[in-house]
Symmetry: C2
């Protein structure tokens, strides 16, 4: 059975424009909060295939999106490389022993060996595929090497990225060594996600905007492209979505063998279409806070439909949905995307 | 005596391209830390004209910038409107009673009455002007109404701006009421800064990038332009610098009567020149983290000089200098800007 979401990723004509939402399996859903509290905490939920499968499927059933996205966290990768991830309540992720030297990166587990440790992710995928309706797609994902490296180097979230950037400008060789090692793990990790059953790959570069435009290719994009091209060679039938958040000034320089470019909300869709619309299908890009108002949601969905005309487009938010959005507003967004693109 | 910095703001030819740095009177300078510890805390320092004058002058003397910028904080405005600013150690600014309703904004002090309470700022300016060398300019500044409003509504710094944005999309009238009231105070505040002796105005919209491009004019830029045009009518000899941080996608739509557009580091200078170089002098835009490396600083300064050719340009960083930058690297930046533009 053909999946409308996969067809749309390849730019084929579809009966309507499919839609999903970044962070759709998340805290705005009371059903998610219920399962999360069963799990005890966020990391336990990532490690528990049965519960992770359950929350992955929730938005498909509750709000009617066209694709599920694997419930997991980008930081399970450095965790299984040996960095010992913790989630501190109210503060977010933490690595107590961030990478400072070549020795620190050398002692981490690399390549297929690290990817082999992520069995709970592959088990989750297999469970989801048993339960997900055949016409819906399952998106697997990874963080981009740069985004993962920011946490591995800073030890936690950061406003200034000053430790990473000090490395970028004064010891770029070490940063490249970290990025290359993470890239190798990600290749095997995504290969194994595909072998476990995912239909689509998304690579999230959430902290893309932390790099100045003239250095973005060198420290992030080229590694993302390397991963995409590794996967494309082995699995040409699996579409790949690249989502570098907040890099409008880089759009002129985007290259590589992938299928869909995820447009964040700071990049106007008309601008993205002009620069990239012929080469890539575009995904996005409603500002997630528009979900606070049904009226503003409808206006934006109609404007996006006007720009894209239902061609080479996947509806999505331009970043993740926030926890305090009413569920009915999220449903309204999904319904409106279907309504405007069916007529 | 003519000031090279003021001439450059008006696009006149100057013997070299002047330079200053955002946050140049700041924590990377041991001399600043010394005065700050004398003051007890950051807010005391803002309230003490003698000490604020001293730290304002430090970077002129220590690293040789061409303009001083008044030492103060953007949040003294809502503080004097009656919002009771606190700086919580390690957490940043805090207002315990953020604006939620029309009543909350109505009870704040507005217009000239609020501006009149900022006497310590005008006193600081008068002291600085007595001591500053005649060929150096003094920059006065304000936060843009939008940036100020984010703190007044959220009560503190925010990653998601979700409270402001809920207001933007579901109760825009209230947000406009707040913005209009702040705009009125800012007009009088900047008028009084000019009357006290500043040579140049800079309006900082530090959180410009939090607004989606299609709403940026409505919720921020038009208020900044209103302030600029109010001041231009009264004080045409005072140049105005607008610095909306992180809005490359808005550059096509920039309008208004002001002199200098401050380019942040996420916007490539060549792109800003193409879009705005004929209409406005451009200020910027080295990525501040390049200061960690003298070599990368030189490369960037040379590249900027290559793009701007010493015409209609003021050197600066693309955002504030970070506290852990070595002072000698900051000096190197200033020296390099002078070197490349004198030859």
């Amino acid at each position: 059975m053909s999946k409308i979401f996969v067809d749309a990723c390849f730019g084929k004509e579809t009966p309507y424009t499919p839609v999903w939402m970044m962070r759709q399996a998340g805290r705005y859903l009371p059903e998610y909060m219920e399962v999360r509290s069963q799990a005890g905490n966020f990391l336990n939920l990532c490690h528990n295939p049965k519960l992770a499968c359950e929350v992955t499927l929730q938005p498909v059933n509750i709000i009617g999106v066209d694709a599920a996205i694997l419930f997991s966290d980008i930081l399970v990768i450095p965790d299984e490389m040996g960095m010992d991830l913790e989630f501190v309540a109210g503060e977010g992720p933490k690595f107590n022993d961030p990478i400072k030297t070549e020795t620190d990166i050398d002692r981490l587990i690399g390549g297929e060996e690290a990817a082999n440790k992520l069995t709970y992710v592959y088990d989750t995928i297999k469970l989801i595929k048993k339960e997900l309706a055949e016409d819906k797609a399952l998106i697997g994902f990874t963080g981009a090497p740069w985004t993962l490296a920011t946490y591995m180097i800073e030890g936690e979230g950061t406003k200034t990225y000053n430790i990473c950037k000090k490395m970028m400008y004064s010891n770029p060789e070490l940063l490249h060594k970290i990025l290359a090692k993470v890239t190798e793990v990600v290749k095997f990790y995504m290969q194994k996600q595909i072998e476990a059953g995912i239909d689509v790959v998304q690579i999230f570069d959430s902290w893309a905007a932390a790099i100045e435009p003239s250095k973005y290719d060198e420290f992030s994009w080229k590694y993302m492209v390397e991963i995409a091209e590794y996967l494309k060679e082995k699995f040409p039938h699996i579409p790949i979505i690249m989502f570098p958040k907040g890099v409008p000034a880089f759009l002129d320089k985007v290259y590589g063998n992938f299928d869909v470019f995820g447009v964040d909300w700071s990049t106007p869709m008309a601008f993205a279409k002009e620069k990239l619309g012929d080469k890539y299908v575009l995904q996005g890009n409603m500002e997630p806070c528009r979900l606070y108002s049904k009226e503003e949601t409808t206006k934006c969905v109609e404007a996006l439909q006007g720009i894209m005309q239902g061609k080479r487009h996947i509806f999505n938010l331009g970043h993740g949905i926030l926890p305090d959005v009413p569920v009915e507003n999220a449903k309204h967004f999904i319904n409106e995307c279907h309504r405007v693109s069916k007529t």
